[in-house]
């Protein structure tokens, strides 16, 4: 009999899935992507992508996890023994992401503390690179690819991030992940709502919102805008790297998989929209303070690490009152959004190690999570930011996107499981999917992801990402992305214990 853990409640599962999907990218990627790709007009391809790729993939992963009741490698092995490597590849991608994602959350934690006395001062860019990260200075003799020494200011919060993450995971699904997300997600929403309410009442907020929402309909015919919309949906929903599949494997027998996917997908987008309103209202305020227009401000870069750790501290400096308070709210939001996602990322390989090697949960958390924590120390060095930048780019574009493409092609066209999965999902869900779901996964998603992949390969063969030296890009970009696949294949060679033989019906009886 299988004694797989289960979520305590449906709300607990939905909060955990939403907590995973709502991450740093919702706050620092979506607003800039929408702005750069037609403003209000971007919502059309974005919604189309949500309904034809995001939610269908969520439904597919929820159904796979629920039907085969295992971590990603076990689930794929149960679908077809030859697909196990795909599960390990996705788990490997999660492992790599967890190593640097934890470091960014550690920065957010540091900045939350810095907010109390606005320690970053007026030169926020100089503070981040110099005073805080003590980044290897390539202008005065340092080289990209050098590690330098450890940065104590990053090490301490990083240790806290790992303690919280592993502590939650050791407690298990119901008492650990579910309980943590029941606290983290509502707190995040309340904190972020406070920021948004304040931001929209600042001088210049209307100009920021105009820049964000004013539609540029000419962009609609540009294929790059559609690819950007699909990328945003795909990267934001935690699909393609084992998370949703693992989470849904802990659902009880009777679960409304299809509507859970709609709630998670729309919930994630709802937060993205809220983030766009908050970020662009704040940018409108900053532009007004500097007597420039929002597009002029946006030209300086308003996404990613720069937005969170350089631009936002500047905005917080210029707040008319309660600067520290809003600093704590903003970086606290980043911390909560990040840590709930990190927990889900680490859970993928904890569950996989537990399934494959038949060890206790505590041992799996300490082995998998512990190893990731040790590797994350690379990014807590003076040269860590360069490694983080290149590895993040390659693992996203040639890890998540490629693994997602292969997953959907394998399920739809190689093992031809779409109809079976649909029957399973519809049999237990209140909301039934129809032909649109099979068309979305069998045709639309593979075509768009395939196009994205061709475009990515073409771009990266033409020029090195970020202008980095070729050797550095090969070693830490291409090799890391390739190594994850190789490790996946190697791990799939090891034989399973009884876990693989347990059938679907036997497992369902155990629920």
């Amino acid at each position: 009999m299988d004694n797989r853990q289960q979520w305590g409640t449906r709300a607990g599962f939905i909060m955990a899935a939403m907590g995973s999907a709502i991450g740093l990218g919702n706050i620092w990627r979506f607003p800039a992507t929408a702005y750069e790709n037609g403003g209000g007009a971007f919502f059309l391809p974005y919604l189309f992508a949500l309904l034809t790729a995001g939610i269908p993939m969520l439904i597919m992963e929820f159904t796979l996890g629920h039907k085969y009741r295992g971590s990603a490698p076990l689930t794929f092995a149960r679908v077809n023994r030859k697909l196990e490597w795909l599960g390990w590849w996705q788990v490997g991608i999660s492992f790599v992401i967890s190593t640097y994602y934890s470091v960014i959350i550690a920065w957010a934690l540091s900045y939350m503390v810095f907010s109390f006395d606005l320690k970053w001062g007026s030169d926020t860019g100089g503070f981040l690179m110099g005073d805080y990260l003590k980044r290897v200075d390539i202008v005065s003799g340092g080289a990209i690819g050098e590690f330098g020494s450890f940065v104590p200011g990053v090490l301490i919060p990083l240790a806290i991030v790992w303690l919280v993450t592993l502590g939650v995971l050791v407690k298990g699904i119901k008492k650990g992940i579910e309980l943590a997300n029941r606290i983290f997600l509502p707190t995040l929403i309340v904190l972020f709502l406070m920021i948004v309410i304040r931001a929209v009442t600042l001088d210049g907020a209307a100009d920021g919102l105009t820049a964000f929402f004013k539609p540029n309909w000419e962009t609609i015919t540009d294929s790059k805008v559609w690819v950007a919309a699909y990328s945003q949906i795909f990267f934001s929903l935690s699909v393609g790297f084992a998370i949703m599949l693992t989470y849904s494997s802990y659902l009880p027998k009777k679960s409304d998989l299809n509507n859970n996917a709609f709630i998670t997908g729309f919930g994630n987008s709802a937060f993205e929209l809220l983030a766009g309103i908050g970020v662009f209202s704040a940018l409108g305020f900053m532009a007004a303070q500097q007597h420039i227009t929002v597009p002029e401000l946006a030209e300086q870069g308003v996404s990613g690490i720069g937005l969170a750790f350089v631009v936002f501290p500047q905005i917080i400096n210029e707040f008319p009152a309660f600067n520290s308070f809003f600093g704590v709210l903003f970086f606290g939001s980043l911390f909560l959004a990040g840590i709930s996602s990190l927990i889900s990322i680490v859970e993928t390989f904890v569950a996989s190690v537990q399934d494959k090697f038949n060890i206790s949960r505590t041992a799996a958390v300490l082995t998998g999570g512990g190893l990731s924590a040790v590797v994350s120390l690379i990014y807590a060095t003076q040269g860590g930011l360069f490694f983080l930048d290149v590895i993040d780019y390659f693992i996203n574009n040639f890890g998540i996107a490629l693994a997602g493409l292969i997953e959907v092609v394998a399920i739809a066209w190689i093992v031809k499981q779409l109809t079976k999965l649909q029957q399973h999902g519809n049999a237990i869900s209140d909301l039934a999917t129809g032909l649109w779901w099979r068309v979305a996964l069998g045709v639309i998603t593979p075509v768009v992801l395939g196009w994205m992949m061709v475009d990515n390969i073409r771009t990266n063969l033409k020029e090195n990402y970020g202008g980095y030296p070729t050797e550095f890009v090969i070693q830490y970009g291409w090799v890391v992305a390739g190594l994850v696949i190789a490790i996946g294949v190697v791990l799939s060679i090891k034989k399973w214990n009884r876990a693989l033989q347990q059938t679907d019906s036997q497992e369902e009886e155990a629920v």
Binding site: T9, F212, D256, F262, I263, S269
Partner: protein
Amino acid sequence: MDVSAVVMMVLGMFIIWGGFAASIAHAVKKSKSKKKSGEVSS
């Protein structure tokens, strides 16, 4: 604010936040009707 921006903002909120609210409302409604008939679902 520009009128077209206001229209897009309202539309975006209506569809995305509305979609979220509708999917939750559907789940709550179904859950209540199942409780009445004695079924349990997650």
